[in-house]
């Protein structure tokens, strides 16, 4: 979303005030992209080279989290939270690994679409249950998370399955013309074709209105129930893509594969400048944050840091960034 605005904002046709407003509104997102570039430099220093292979590696490693962060962000924007993202990705992972184990490329694409539509429907159902039951999002998704974990274990009790179609897994793992990681292209296409039209539609406006002030949105004629259901459905579609990306990246189905993704998706969303109170932020920030977290993991790997220390360091970084943001907010208030 902000990339489009950035492209137009750079031209001189746009008044300076608009440009300043854009900068003010997107400081955080721009900063996270700055951090990303800085970390690329660090990787170049640590690894002493930074070729197409490294970018491809980064995309494969970060793509599942990037999609998961998009799913979480969509829900957080309306002021909700989805604690069932990890279990849902695990469910998608085991179903996909079972179906794709013997599927051709065309069949794989068809199965993937079926999975995306199915998970979007489950997302819509979650939104419906939250609306009808009036139970808070955090509780409903916590409970559905248990349910998806159980179904995933039922589908595939122990790791197995796979992806037969090389063309399909290349959508995540491959390179176009030996340079451009295909996963990054898929991500860009999804953002342009799915998120951008949604963001610019009336429904997109409703999402931000609902997240900013539910009462005001309701009084202005926003259909609260329909907006919430739409946000959860779109979030579900992104989570399905996250699960599919995970399946393509690992080429295996494992009911315990996605345990960390719920927490990491929340971390990406917050690092990406989306307010957990809703209504503020976009999807490009969380995507960048997901790549930043992935890059930190890769750099620590190159430095041969124990993966458990890497977990600690990632946590410390998240906490420090949040403390820093807190100081900034306090300053602004004074």
């Amino acid at each position: 979303m902000s990339s489009v605005a950035a492209a137009t904002g750079a031209t001189s046709f746009i008044p300076a005030s608009t440009r300043r407003r854009f900068l003010r509104r997107n400081t955080w997102t721009l900063a996270i992209y700055g951090v990303f570039l800085a970390l690329l430099l660090v990787e170049k220093i640590v690894h002493s080279s930074l070729g197409a292979f490294d970018f491809e590696n980064l995309v494969i490693y970060s793509l599942p989290l990037a999609f998961a962060a998009m799913g979480q962000a969509t829900v957080v924007l309306i002021g909700g939270i989805d604690l069932s993202i990890g279990p849902m990705m695990a469910l998608v992972n085991v179903v996909a690994a079972t179906w794709l184990a013997t599927a051709s490329f065309q069949q794989s694409i068809l199965y993937a679409l079926v999975i995306i539509v199915g998970v979007a429907a489950l997302g819509a159902l979650t939104g419906l249950v939250i609306t009808v039951s009036r139970v808070p999002d955090i509780i409903v998704t916590l409970a559905t998370g248990f349910i998806w974990s159980g179904v995933a274990l039922r589908v595939l009790p122990s790791p197995g399955g796979g992806v037969q179609s090389v063309d399909f897994s290349n959508l995540v793992n491959g390179e176009l013309w030996g340079v451009i990681p295909e996963g990054a292209l898929v991500l860009a296409v999804i953002i342009l074709v799915v998120w951008l039209p949604f963001y610019r539609s009336k429904m997109g406006l409703s999402v931000y209105a609902l997240g900013s002030n539910r009462t005001a949105a309701f009084l202005s004629g926003v259909n609260v129930a329909r907006t919430r259901i739409a946000a959860y459905a779109l979030g579900g579609a992104f989570v399905a893509m996250a699960g599919l990306a995970l399946t393509a990246a690992t080429s295996t189905g494992d009911p315990n594969s996605a345990a960390n993704y719920t927490l990491n998706s929340v971390a990406s969303v917050v690092l990406g400048g989306v307010s957990l109170a809703g209504g503020r932020g976009g999807l490009l920030g969380p995507v960048a944050a997901a790549f930043v977290l992935g890059l930190i993991g890769i750099i620590l790997g190159f430095m041969q840091v124990d993966p458990n220390w890497a977990l600690v360091i990632q946590g410390v970084i998240v906490v420090l960034v949040m403390l820093f943001a807190g100081v900034l907010t306090l300053r602004r208030q004074q």
Partner: protein, 335 residues
């Protein structure tokens, strides 16, 4: 139960009366659910038709009850503590690792871990104004990572839970009174239920959750309240983790992982609002008991792990749904 839920839209007068009673006294509904679940359990498994089984159920429920106690007061301030499970596991593991220095010393180390983690959470949330969800999430993953590193660095064999802690986790006074309930859960419950009602800090906790701005304008130092709340929560988690270690008589870095979501579920089933300011610990006690009986029921039914998870999720959702209906949006309506 589920058949009555849709009918609530056009309630006959008598049901309206019933609903009002539940709204005023949610503990009635929770007691009913608990009794129904236990009757089902006893009818499915003859082994549960004894006072002894009640005693052992309560003994196990104490662990969840204590973790959920911390979660409850944090929820009351409109926060959430996602570090409870990591802190509980860390306290238990480090305690067992230091068991050789004597039980008192080991337990003190465990409690210190809780205190430090809680203070970090409290400083982030109270002083820097970080959203509780992300702050406790970060601290939780730091604690978890450090625990795994610590456990891999240990070379002197498997950690041993000190005898007195094992005794506390499994022993009973006479035949029926579990030691962990008598010496830990009961005092904590009394302090929390009375303290939230009558003490300055307790009232401030509810007030901060209800309306932080009004609270600050009224002269409450909200950061102190939040700091104390998160510190208490983590100390309670550490306590529960050590009792769990004693109960299992074995520890590992993932000892208490499942208790994270259960602690939130117990508090919410007990009627504490995730939006703060509404609820209390009495309901959480019932929430912990209900979830423990439910777990026993699923064990007795010989359900596979997959079935257990599905039923668990479905029942938590159903209970929260019924509760939200009966309490008439008392959970904090999101519609």
């Amino acid at each position: 139960m589920s058949t009555s839920a849709p009918a609530i839209e056009q309630l006959p007068p008598r049901l309206q009366q019933l609903q009002r009673r539940f709204t005023d006294q949610p503990l009635y509904a929770l007691t009913a659910i608990l009794v129904i679940l236990f009757v089902i359990l006893a009818s499915v498994s003859p082994g549960y038709r004894s006072l002894h089984s009640v005693s052992s159920t309560v003994q196990l429920a104490a662990i969840l009850g204590i973790i959920a106690a911390g979660q409850t007061i944090v929820l009351l301030t409109a926060g959430v503590d996602l570090s409870v499970a990591s802190v509980a596991s860390a306290a238990a593991y480090v305690m067992a690792q230091n068991g050789g220095h004597g039980a008192v010393w080991a337990v003190l180390i465990g409690l210190a871990i809780g205190l430090v983690a809680g203070l970090v959470n409290g400083i982030g949330v109270g002083i820097f104004g970080v959203q509780p969800l992300i702050m406790t999430l970060g601290v939780g993953s730091i604690v978890e990572g450090m625990l795994v590193v610590y456990s891999q660095a240990q070379s002197n064999g498997a950690p041993l839970v000190p005898g007195p802690v094992h005794q506390l986790g499994t022993g009973t006074l006479g035949t029926y009174i579990p030691l962990d309930v008598l010496f830990v859960w009961l005092p904590i419950s009394a302090i929390l239920i009375l303290g939230l009602k009558y003490s300055g800090l307790g009232r401030a906790i509810i007030a901060v959750g209800d309306n932080p701005v009004a609270c600050r304008l009224a002269g409450v130092r909200t950061w102190q309240v939040l700091l104390a709340t998160y510190a208490i929560s983590s100390i309670l988690s550490a306590t529960a983790g050590m009792i769990l270690g004693g109960y299992e008589n074995a520890v590992d870095p993932q000892l208490a992982t499942t208790y994270l979501l259960l602690s939130v579920a117990a508090a919410v089933i007990g009627g504490t609002s995730v939006f703060g300011g509404l609820g209390g610990y009495a309901g959480t006690i019932f929430g912990a008991l209900i979830l423990t009986v439910l777990d026993a029921l699923l064990t007795v039914m010989n359900a596979s792990q997959a079935t257990r998870l599905m039923l668990y999720g479905a029942i938590i959702l159903l209970l929260a749904w019924i509760y939200a209906r009966l309490a008439g949006g008392g959970l904090g309506s999101t519609g």
